[in-house]
Symmetry: C2
Subunit: 152 residues, 2 copies
């Protein structure tokens, strides 16, 4: 899919990302830097925790989901960065070997009042492993508008 | 600081994490997996973007801040995981060499109605580089309560 301007998104649009598998080694590498809790960093000690084994950091799960959306190349050079993320929910553990599948729905598109060259887009991410929802979150991103004079 | 039970936190408690420096190589490594946008992955191409140079993924910034809090060992084995994160705001770019300093305030402690062995704690994170706020976010975590019979 080619990069889109802000003008080319509409509330209700839905995109499916490619699936991605969560590898045990990546769970540990991520968690040692960004979420150093035993149930994310130590497969043996994790067996004695509440979760009964290693689980991925929630920060990693949403990062993997977000990256799969970015890899669709819908935003690409039209992204002007993201000021906000809201309502992050982790509803089930993610374990080594789980395959994440993410659907992304456009919640809102809103023009900028102060900057006519851009608009905001809010996205609802829903990430599943099989039939189980494991994570949900909303992102807000500034996107370039189509330059005036461009053919639509 | 030793690990605390849920009972030992109060709304208004404030904790300061150790500072941590954002390294350019880590910005790129993180972004290639979790946020593959040009201004996070390519120092040269980033010069031609809106940001004028490489900046850290917002997901990485909040992960680094969260990890510094975990390293205070206040939660440790009493953490039963986090179901939610809210109101994430990225208010200024984070660049290579920036030193992140994070303060963490307890917003709310609430006992579980259904599970007498645990409670919820909500934390407000504020991360700064020098005098500039760069990120804010709220986390919710389940924590063990002190077992009845334990001395306080």
């Amino acid at each position: 899919m080619p990069a889109r301007y802000w003008d080319e998104f509409s509330a209700g649009d839905v995109f499916q990302t490619d699936p991605v598998v969560v590898e045990e080694a990546n769970i540990i590498t991520f968690a040692e830097k960004y979420d150093p809790q035993t149930f994310h960093t130590d497969p043996e000690a994790a067996k004695d925790t509440f979760y009964g084994g290693l689980i991925a950091s929630g920060h990693q799960t949403i990062g993997m989901a977000f990256a799969q959306f970015i890899r669709l190349d819908l935003f690409a050079e039209n992204s002007l960065g993201g000021p906000a993320m809201d309502e992050v929910r982790w509803s089930a553990p993610v374990r080594p070997g789980d395959k994440l599948e993410t659907s992304v729905e456009v919640l809102e598109v809103r023009a900028s009042k102060s900057r006519p060259d851009r608009g905001l887009i809010r996205l609802q991410f829903t990430t599943r492993v099989g039939d189980t929802d494991v994570a949900q979150f909303q992102t807000t991103t500034f996107l370039r508008r189509r330059p005036s004079g461009d053919d639509a």
